[in-house]
């Protein structure tokens, strides 16, 4: 048994929104779906086996018929996770639920086939949403988390320690740039190296055999992010962001792509 999903809208984590009325309100506020000519509640139960590993979808909270073009929006989830899809919900599933003959299936398998993002938990309480195609970048980000634990003189050479805000600014830059290239140039760039920089700053280094780009995210938010890139020979660029135009995006994309 599976959902007849036609179009993926946007996955969203919502706490304690399994109440159909709360979901309806969320649709109004979150998606501008302010008119519903059909709403169906089919709460059939909750189960919580391993979070994110094999939990079963036991609840179909509501089905909306919106005026925004997509015919139906289905809400699936349990108390802590709610995912939204446009398209037609499998009526057969609803019928079975209505009659109480629920067939369990592995939500994780379904979700991993259809999900376009994953969540990365960093610095204990910061959840970052990353496209699945950029998983390697997520891995590099996670691996660089140790930087925020480095205190003054961490290297016995007098270097300054790092603030979590600086590191978060750096990974935000990496993700913004990677996602921008993915969505605008349809290219997946290779993950950068994330290094400790001077004076509490963070260095981000993209390097290939043909091109390299070093960005420096300063500790002081009022200072600009500076960059330098070259092809090891003649072609080079340097400046500060947001002077993005100085970075020859096309060149970098073609070289950094995997």
């Amino acid at each position: 048994m599976e959902l007849k999903e036609k179009k993926y809208v946007y996955p969203k984590y919502i706490d304690r929104r399994d109440n159909p009325h709360a979901i309806k309100e969320y649709c109004k506020r979150g998606y501008g779906l302010d008119k519903f000519d059909y709403m169906r509640c089919a709460t059939v139960g909750n189960r919580y086996p391993d979070y994110f590993s094999s939990y079963k979808i036991m609840q179909v909270s509501a089905v909306f018929n919106s005026v925004k073009g997509s015919k139906h929006i289905g809400c699936l989830g349990n108390r802590s996770v709610l995912e939204w899809y446009s398209g037609e919900l499998n009526e057969e599933l609803l019928e079975e639920q209505k009659t109480g003959t629920i067939e369990e299936y592995n939500w994780f398998e379904y979700a991993s086939k259809n999900k376009s993002h994953f969540d990365l938990l960093v610095l204990s309480d910061n959840r970052i949403r990353i496209p699945l195609e950029l998983k390697k970048i997520g891995d590099v980000i996670k691996a660089s988390e140790y930087i925020v634990d480095l205190k003054d003189n961490w290297d016995d050479e007098g270097s300054k320690g790092y603030k979590s805000e600086t590191w978060l600014n750096a990974i935000n830059l990496i993700l913004t740039y990677s996602v921008w290239i993915k969505e605008n140039r349809f290219t997946i760039i290779s993950p950068p190296q994330i290094y400790e920089g001077p004076e509490g700053s963070i260095d981000i280094l993209w390097e290939s055999k043909k091109y390299r780009l070093l960005l420096n995210v300063p500790e002081d938010k009022n200072l600009p992010i500076s960059f330098y890139g070259d092809d090891f020979y003649k072609d080079s660029n340097k400046g500060t962001l947001p002077e993005y135009s100085k970075i020859k995006l096309a060149l970098i994309e073609s070289i950094l792509s995997v």
Partner: protein
Amino acid sequence: MWPQENIPITHCLYKRIPKDHIDLSLSKPKPIAYKDEELSCDWCEYSNAKQTRDRVIQYNRDPNSYFVVRMLVNDIKQKTPVLEVKHQPEPENRSHTHVNGDKKKAIDGVEIRMKLRDMSHWVIPPPSV
């Protein structure tokens, strides 16, 4: 005191790099290794790589936690002309040399650190991972 001398461009400088400033997975120095405004190096005329590394003993540090790269003076002058290579002998180290220039300066600093890293070649390399 040792006299200050001009360093020929055909000579090289040894730079000691602490383990924490090396990406061991790539066996390359991190750009932060070149952050100092007065980057201390040793002139090959009066020092070899091992001596450069072992000088950390005087600071009560373990020399095995340090590795050494070599940079050609000509490369420094050609590729980073804003930097100045200046022999700065010390009583206990005649080879001591500074590569002067603001490597923390926003734009130029990024470029300089990148280029110095690029022109560095291991003489005492870190163990490969």
